[in-house]
Symmetry: C2
Subunit: 407 residues, 2 copies
């Protein structure tokens, strides 16, 4: 079969992610490879650990990358922390809560779920009540669930977990760097992420951080790989972790000064992950979050200025994505196609109960920019009018400009 | 923390992999992203399936990528094919055989191992004998084990497996595109690979192909993810696959026209994987294998021309890597450091029982080139002499040139 070198059509990706990668991240990926144990390579691994400590706001030594997409990070955390029969509590407020539930079930954990209606979040008292009832080993909850755009407040949960002797895990793929997050101050034991949202990179690498408490739990199940075992190597007593690829005890050994061989690190993805974090640290995490807050406010105001209704509890939505109710009589998918065809702008569809009911527009990572917000609103006005929706001409961009003038 | 944009030191990676990526593959990775369901993206996914069918020499519909390093592909194959208690036979002739064994054990399969001394391969009769005794569901064997450089002949095994009703799985990460391989003609049911050897790409994507028979076995365990299930979606009766990330039934749905959402495809790695296969198909698989054979012969002749002893059964070694016994009195690691410091050439160390006994030199992918072979031999001569080894001046490059003159 005959095929040509890759040559992507021009796009501005304003959906809920993946979004356009920062050009500096793309350039980093085209750098030459070096050997797996080259001092340059192990130096970058150590730098990457340090950079992600700043991104996660943690002092955790065990801060590294899982070689896979964000759900690889989730599975690594759950399969390494949970043994068959362990109780886990999963508060579900959208599709990604269901994913945590499903992965925990596949670990043969005893999974207990509480559910909030899509478009809402949980109050800490609800979660504490469920913890009292379930007495789980682990609380597993996503911070941001892109399926609903909601952002679960986490700051009160760490203290609750400590009080009840529960490990506290969150996935921040959708929210990290776009919304306030503090792994240590908030008492997190395990945190996983991905690059393809506010980190402005491609999918394919999953940063993770583990508290000393989580490391201790995992290392009770540490077993050195058969082919690497040396005289005197002592395995831990605990049940061997079910996955080799996601065995965090082995992955920690690989990222430690011992450098025990595990997988062959995905070097180009490490370059990407390192560059994503480097750019955020250079900008400053507070500045990055403020940038997402500003452009998110402008997009929300613009959408409302066009006369559209945002979805759900907007006080608890992520800064970096907004759900928009599709006006009556409009074919949501047809409008998305027109936006791509005429303006090369991609906005998001939705899943499950919200399918056909809302669009999702992101303002994240490289696309958390004034021109991206203004261009999207201008194009949206045109395609909505074309679809027969009555709206305020200029109302979207006008409302967004007001936000920018306030600053 | 302050860190700079990535800027790798110059290297020529002549170890057993990863090796230098082809510059065209690196360029492909710096292409802009598009949305996950953009017709451009799904078109590239389909192209990638077609290209890997040519690389694996198969008509299997189920030919796709696993988003992770090569061991992610191995784990996906084993965890999806094996249920707890299933019998699997693993012929082990090096470290990567031990890896298959370990991953199968973690699936709670009943793992039976036969072992060949490191440096040798199995005769088909030995494997058939073990199949008779064990009566496994699956035979799992690597084609090339880089730890020993050996290449297990596979062509007779498919017929044996069919006769005994056994599924036949191989990992060809180390050997694919550098050595003859024919998935369909040889009766393979599952094959996994990686990009970082003869495919001339970075680690981080694992091509996989599954025969209709393997697909049927896997689909008996197909369960649609909770968050995606629709009215009337029927789950299969079989035990749910233990991993979500490596659930090949779900991954096949994602790569099918149904496009059921699973992970967010690692777009840049897909660009890389597609380009690796595209370059091979453009060159022609037979030509690519002939190129590896030629440069492998030249390197072997050169090493012998220097008076060094190749390791193991050289008639059964992979074309793309050679093991070299470290001469008495030479500090193997010190010599490797000098090679990098003075010539920027990396050659490989070794694992387990061979550690400190052999070096491994690769001639693969982008580095299966005459200048790479000649430069490595010239540099090797210098550092060996510097280390006090008595050798034939010019004997390495001279012997290699003779091979090139024969053609």
């Amino acid at each position: 079969m005959k095929s040509d070198p890759i040559h992507p059509p021009y796009r501005m990706l304003m959906g809920p992610g993946p979004i356009d990668a920062d050009p500096r991240v793309l350039r980093a990926m085209s750098a030459a490879l070096v050997g797996q144990y080259d001092p340059a390579m192990t130096g970058w691994m150590n730098e990457t650990m340090g950079l992600y400590r700043e991104v996660f706001r943690t002092d955790n030594q065990a801060t590294m990358l899982i070689d896979g997409t964000s759900r690889a990070g989730i599975e690594a955390a759950l399969v390494s922390l949970l043994e068959p029969g362990d109780r886990v509590l999963v508060p579900v407020f959208g599709r990604f809560g269901n994913l945590l539930r499903e992965i925990a079930e596949r670990c043969d954990a005893e999974v207990h779920v509480i559910e909030a209606p899509w478009g809402e979040v949980f109050r800490p008292e609800q979660i504490e009540q469920a913890i009292r009832e379930v007495q789980p080993k682990l609380l597993a909850v996503v911070q941001g669930d892109t399926s609903t755009t909601m952002c679960q407040p986490l700051e009160a949960l760490g203290e609750i977990c400590r009080r009840h002797g529960v490990l506290f895990y969150t996935d921040v793929t959708a929210s990290l760097a776009g919304n306030e997050f503090r792994a240590d101050d908030w008492g997190l034991d395990a945190v996983t992420a991905g690059l393809q949202k506010c980190l402005a990179g491609p999918s394919g690498s999953a940063p993770i951080t583990l508290s000393p408490r989580a490391v201790e739990v995992i290392n009770r199940r540490r077993h050195v790989e058969a082919g690497l075992k040396k005289e005197g190597d002592d395995d831990a007593r605990g049940l061997r972790i079910r996955s080799n690829y996601f065995d965090l005890a082995m992955i920690m050994d690989y990222w430690s000064e011992a450098r025990l061989n595990h997988h062959t690190e995905a070097t180009s993805m490490l370059y990407a992950a390192r560059e994503c974090a480097r750019l955020l640290v250079e900008e400053g995490m507070d500045n990055a979050i403020a940038r997402h807050r500003l452009h998110g406010r402008a997009m929300l105001a613009g959408v409302q200025g066009l006369g559209l209704r945002p979805f759900g509890d907007v006080d608890n939505k992520m800064h970096n994505v907004v759900g928009i109710e599709i006006p009556d009589g409009v074919d949501g998918e047809a409008l998305r196609r027109t936006l791509i065809q005429d303006y090369a702008i991609e906005i998001g569809t939705s899943f499950g109960p919200l399918h056909g009911r809302i669009w999702r527009i992101g303002t994240m990572g490289y696309n958390a920019r004034r021109d991206a917000v203004m261009t999207t609103l201008a194009a949206l006005e045109q395609v909505l009018r074309h679809a027969g929706v009555t709206l305020n001409a200029g109302g979207g961009t006008g409302a967004a400009r007001e936000i920018y003038q306030e600053g």
